[in-house]
């Protein structure tokens, strides 16, 4: 009985010891890969920032009108800084994946290959979202200014609607690119967009028919009677 007990305990200890002996080099390799990934990512980030700064990317982006649409506030990152961070996280992520692969944990075999194969779709989706966001900002700003200059009440609402419309389209395109329930995204977007337009048409045409008539009448009358500015500017 005692012998049996000691065999079981010793087997367990031996088994754990073997597992630790088996896992330790992999763990060390994983930690080394994470450390290397971090070092390489930090280096690449620094080099990217320097190269882009030397190429005057921030000035060029400002000239192309991109900086203004990146956002507001004193703490917004510059385009150079943004791309530097992107490079850092991309490389660090690859390091992490290699570390996971090195651990040889069940279920993670081939994870790196799968993720790397999926990476082009992720890059395209990110580009679509970033581009869509910048386009949304730009168009919303343009609509806001044009509506205010035309003295349209509710200019902010109009600009917000344009911003969200563009963002929604960009999000739908990005999700489709990622293959996330492709059919469902298209269906949901189509139904939501079509539904919104139909709802607005019905609300305007039926529910607020009288209001619409009055608004149009008022607008047309004002346009007809409007003498324009009482001064000449040039």
């Amino acid at each position: 009985m005692q012998q049996q007990w000691s065999d079981i305990v010793l087997d367990a200890i031996r088994d754990v010891g073997q597992r630790i002996l088996f896992a330790t080099p992999r763990l060390l390799a994983a930690l080394t890969l994470i450390l290397l990934g971090w070092i390489v990512a930090a280096l690449v980030r620094r080099v990217t920032v320097r190269v882009l700064a030397a190429a005057d990317l921030d000035v060029r982006c400002a000239r192309w009108g991109l900086t203004g649409v990146l956002g507001r506030g004193a703490h917004r990152p510059s385009p150079t800084e943004l791309l530097g961070r992107l490079a850092y996280w991309a490389i660090f992520l690859v390091g992490l994946l290699m570390a996971v692969e090195a651990l040889e944990m069940p279920g993670t075999r081939g994870a790196v290959g799968a993720v790397l194969a999926f990476l082009p779709h992720v890059i395209v989706a990110v580009l679509v979202v970033v581009g869509g966001w910048m386009l949304a900002q730009f168009l919303a700003q343009a609509v806001l200014i044009a509506a205010v200059n035309a003295q349209v009440a509710g200019a902010s609402l109009l600009a917000t609607a344009v911003r969200w419309l563009v963002l929604t389209v960009a999000a739908a395109v990005a999700l489709t690119e990622l293959g996330v329930a492709r059919e469902m995204v298209l269906l949901v977007f189509g139904i939501a967009f079509g539904g919104a337009v139909l709802a607005l048409s019905l609300a305007f045409g039926l529910g607020a028919r009288e209001l619409a008539r009055q608004a149009l009448e008022s607008y047309l009358t004002r346009a007809r009677q409007d003498p324009g500015e009482p001064v000449s500017h040039v």
Partner: protein, 414 residues
């Protein structure tokens, strides 16, 4: 002749041939147009008759340059030009994308090509031009008295408010020269100034609007050329023309001036104070008072801008300026005030924001519209009861405010 503006880069071959057919010319007046069929033929006729009367015995010519009109402007001018033959009249159309700036550029290149000692630039929309305007406009440049001749006009305070409240005060504070008109619809330049103009490829950012005229003025101011102002009479533009969108006008006129500030930063930053531009001929009467004009609509535009465009203005102007703008939102059309000093600060802030590209430039200039309308509303209210001397004082106060703002602007310009 190898450097600077060349005709081949500005006009297509048929246009070049038309200019070459004129032969050597002492004085060339170019009428430039873009969709101005209503007024262009009459303007070309007046210019041709003015040249024949003012410069009889000298080799002069008129060149009509169309910037790519779609309303038959060129055809209307050609039809008219064949009937009149006081002086040779040639016409050409620029190729590519339509733009008034390209027409002006071609006109300047043509003047240089024919070896003109003086060149006049006349906008085809200047409906009030008369035969008598041509000799005083072109004479100083042809006789060697001036390299740049600028017009001045008899106008009411409610006319040309963009010039009186922004363009002229800003040019005066920047370069220390007191012009009444900036982009006044006509001007004359000497061959020395023509030769000093940069080659066509450097004008790429001025294809439309009034950038080309502004660039010529900038070259004259920055290059220390001799300047002269002549009084021509009453300025009227085509009354039948559709009113231009104000935001578009600001982009066309203020944008080139802000770009001029960038191009010639070294020449204006240390200038302080101002001197009058030498005048040739009799001085015109002072500005007429504003009369009874209701500024309600302009004040409403300002209020709407303050409510909705604040996020954009926050990126363009300083917190201090914003702090002074907020209280204006509480003022109604009868007691609305927008002091010249605050207006000068707003323009300096926008110029710096334009330079630093804090917003897309087109957006920035369009976002200025409600602020400009607010200033014009206040200007109209200030000057409604003013006599003619009082009206002149009101204009001078605006200019002095811009001059007072100049040191701060120079200090912030990097």
């Amino acid at each position: 002749m190898a450097d600077g503006l060349t005709l081949e880069t500005a006009l297509p071959p048929d246009g070049t041939a038309a200019v070459e057919a004129l032969g050597p010319v002492e004085a060339l007046v170019a009428v430039t147009a873009l969709n101005q069929a209503r007024t262009a033929p009459a303007v070309v006729s007046a210019v041709a008759a003015g040249l024949a009367r003012g410069f009889a015995g000298r080799k002069t010519a008129v060149l009509f340059v169309d910037g790519g009109s779609q309303d038959g402007t060129l055809e209307a001018v050609n039809q008219q030009a064949s009937a009149d033959a006081a002086v040779p009249v040639a016409s050409a159309r620029v190729s590519g994308r339509p733009g008034r700036g390209r027409a002006v550029l071609a006109a300047l290149a043509a003047a240089r090509h024919v070896g003109a000692r003086a060149a006049g630039l006349v906008d085809a929309g200047l409906a009030s031009i008369t035969v008598e305007w041509i000799e005083p406009l072109l004479g100083p440049a042809l006789n060697g008295d001036a390299d740049y001749v600028s017009p001045s006009y008899s106008r009411a305070l409610t006319e040309g408010t963009l010039t009186t409240n922004l363009l002229a005060p800003l040019v005066r504070s920047l370069f220390g020269k007191r012009f009444q008109e900036v982009l006044g619809g006509c001007a004359a330049v000497s061959s020395a100034l023509l030769d000093a103009l940069p080659p066509a490829e450097e004008w790429a950012d001025e294809p439309t609007g009034q950038g080309a005229e502004m660039r010529v003025l900038g070259q004259a101011l920055a290059g220390d050329h001799a300047l002269v102002e002549v009084h021509l009479g009453r300025k009227e533009v085509d009354p039948g023309a559709a009113p231009a969108d104000l935001a578009h006008t600001l982009v066309d006129a203020v944008g080139p001036l802000f770009r001029l500030m960038e191009r010639h930063a070294g020449e204006w930053q240390d200038v302080r104070g101002s001197v009058p531009v030498p005048r040739r001929g009799p001085a015109g009467p002072g500005p007429r008072a504003a009369g009874d004009v209701r500024p309600d609509r302009m004040v409403r535009a300002f209020h709407l801008g303050l409510k909705d465009l604040l996020p954009l203005w926050e990126q363009a102007v300083t917190e201090e300026t914003l702090g002074q703008l907020y209280p204006l939102g509480l003022l109604g059309p009868d007691d609305f005030r927008f002091q010249p000093s605050l207006w000068a600060r707003v323009i300096a802030d926008f110029a710096v924001a334009h330079h630093e590209r804090r917003l897309p430039r087109d957006h920035l200039l369009r976002a200025l519209t409600p602020l400009y309308l607010g200033r014009v509303a206040a200007f109209v209210l200030e000057t409604q009861a003013a006599s003619s001397p009082g009206a002149a004082d009101a204009l001078e106060r605006v200019c002095l405010a811009f001059e007072a703002e100049k040191p701060a602007l120079s200090a912030r310009w990097r």
